[in-house]
């Protein structure tokens, strides 16, 4: 009998919430909010060429890169291709908490969408170009565990790859390291073409700017309320800024940085040192930009104590399809990410860190709204069309 009463009470409570939600007027946006929303577009952006990569934007280099991306012989044991972890059918990630290379890895595999507009690459920003970052896993003993000699031999001895290489970059260089760099640049040229599709948010953003009432009304109210939180009280847009929903920089958001394998992950603190020491960086001899164009950030980046435990601020496009989340994959769902920001303990943050990160204290309804907004940044993306085969 008591259970019946409790059940009846719960039903009434749920019905009350549903009715209240149904009666809630559609959210509107003031001028400041409209400006903030407009800053998240337009989408897609115009392509940007990487001046340090002579293959950037070149069809032959893109075709070579597409071929290499699926090539397991780039790894030492011949079993691991870029596409093994960055799966085309899974929004260019793998859906698991931590990557698996030659050995289990500590960080999550990042999706590859929209990298043509990024400035730093990898969770710690250890790459200052997409081509440098593409070389890194090939050489990393924990990932593909190969070397320049093996990679160059593959391209020289495989007639099809040799043909792609010549078509993309001309005469084959004698040095193994230069062939390896060409491989990285072709992989980068291909990845630059991975631009995420337009989403329901983009249609709403454009309608809001145009004053298109029907377009505005078509965007769900819960997503609108979530967006209002995102650009307003939540201050999410301070870091998840601009059309890609990231400033491209780094932050400590209170995720523990202990590695599964033991020890700590210094994040950006180590990433800056690695970028500066990398012989393949934009200031090195392999850059195709003689005047160091595009190297301003590397010249001026400053390693600071607060970089310890900072990780890349990820872009949020396709976010609903690219979990789990955070650098260590420790948050399995978008709901758990929102819960983190709602309840984050300041004790988890390092000293002298970003004041934006503090417990938001969201109600269950607000959390659901924020998740609804985040989901509106994702759609099913068509599988890429293979570039025309220029070589047999």
């Amino acid at each position: 009998m008591t259970l019946r009463w409790i059940a009846a009470g719960l039903l009434i409570a749920i019905a009350t919430v549903v009715i209240a939600a149904a009666r809630e007027p559609a959210p509107t946006f003031d001028e400041a909010e409209r400006r903030a929303i407009a800053a998240h577009g337009p989408w897609p952006p115009a392509p940007r060429r990487d001046l340090s990569n002579r293959g950037s934007g070149q069809p032959a280099a893109i075709a070579f890169g597409a071929r290499l991306f699926a090539e397991p012989r780039l790894s030492a044991d011949g079993r691991l291709a870029c596409a093994t972890c960055h799966r085309p059918d899974r929004d260019w990630t793998d859906g698991v908490a931590a990557g698996q290379g030659a050995v289990p890895l500590d960080r999550r595999t990042q999706p590859l969408w929209n990298l043509g507009h990024a400035a730093w690459f990898g969770w710690a920003g250890q790459g200052d170009s997409l081509w440098a970052q593409s070389i890194r896993p090939i050489l990393d003993p924990a990932e593909m565990a190969s070397d320049a000699r093996r990679a160059a031999r593959l391209v020289r001895e495989d007639a099809t790859l040799a043909c792609f290489h010549r078509a993309a970059f001309g005469a084959e260089p004698p040095e193994d390291e230069r062939v390896l760099v060409d491989i990285g640049k072709a992989l980068a040229a291909f990845q630059e073409t991975l631009v995420s599709p337009r989403t329901p948010f983009d249609a709403f953003r454009d309608a809001l700017i145009a004053g298109d009432a029907a377009g505005i009304a078509a965007y769900p109210d819960d997503a609108k309320r979530g967006l209002k939180l995102f650009v307003g009280r939540g201050e999410c847009a301070a870091c998840h800024f601009g059309p890609r929903f990231t400033t491209g920089e780094f932050a400590d958001v209170g995720i523990p940085f202990f590695r599964r394998s033991g020890g700590v992950d210094p994040g950006r603190f180590e990433g800056i040192a690695q970028a500066l020491a990398n012989p393949f960086n934009r200031l090195g001899s392999h850059s195709d930009s003689a005047d160091g164009a595009g190297a301003t950030r590397l010249r001026h980046v400053e390693r600071q104590h607060r970089n310890f435990g900072e990780f890349k601020i990820p872009g949020l496009r396709q976010v609903a399809r690219t979990g789990p989340y955070m650098h260590d994959g420790s948050k399995p769902t978008l709901e758990s990410v929102v819960e983190h920001y709602s309840t984050v303990s300041l004790d988890c943050l390092h000293g002298n860190t970003e004041r934006l990160v503090r417990p938001l204290g969201l109600t269950p309804g607000e959390s659901a709204d924020l998740v609804a907004f985040l989901r509106s940044l994702s759609v099913e993306a068509p599988l890429p069309v293979a570039p025309p085969a220029t070589c047999p």
Partner: protein, 135 residues
Amino acid sequence: MRAVLTALAMLVATSAPAVANCPLDLGRGLGWAVFSSQHLLAMRPDPPQIEVGEPFALLLNVCDRRNQPAQLVAIDATMPEHAHGMNYRPRLIDLGDGRYRVEGMVFHMPGRWELALDVRSGDTTERLTHDMMVQ
């Protein structure tokens, strides 16, 4: 000592009549003048529009109260509301006659940035500040 006044100004030679001999030859364009009772500083960004997360340079002229070139000692920028500075260390290039170019500035987050400019003339050193909103 903080700047007593900051103002948006057209950077033409006539923008500050009280110190008209000071070489404010930054060319035409929107910029800022920052001054105290001791110093006058004019600056403009290159490229003209500062974008969040994009490197830019600052062109500056620094003069003292006697309309003579002064020295720019240091420059930094912080976001007071967020308790952090830039992620990049700018490089200050002395072009002579109180003219400077500062390279490697990046405002990596939208919001209010406070620019701090340490200037010196003779035995007088002071900090001028200027707020910039980046969106």
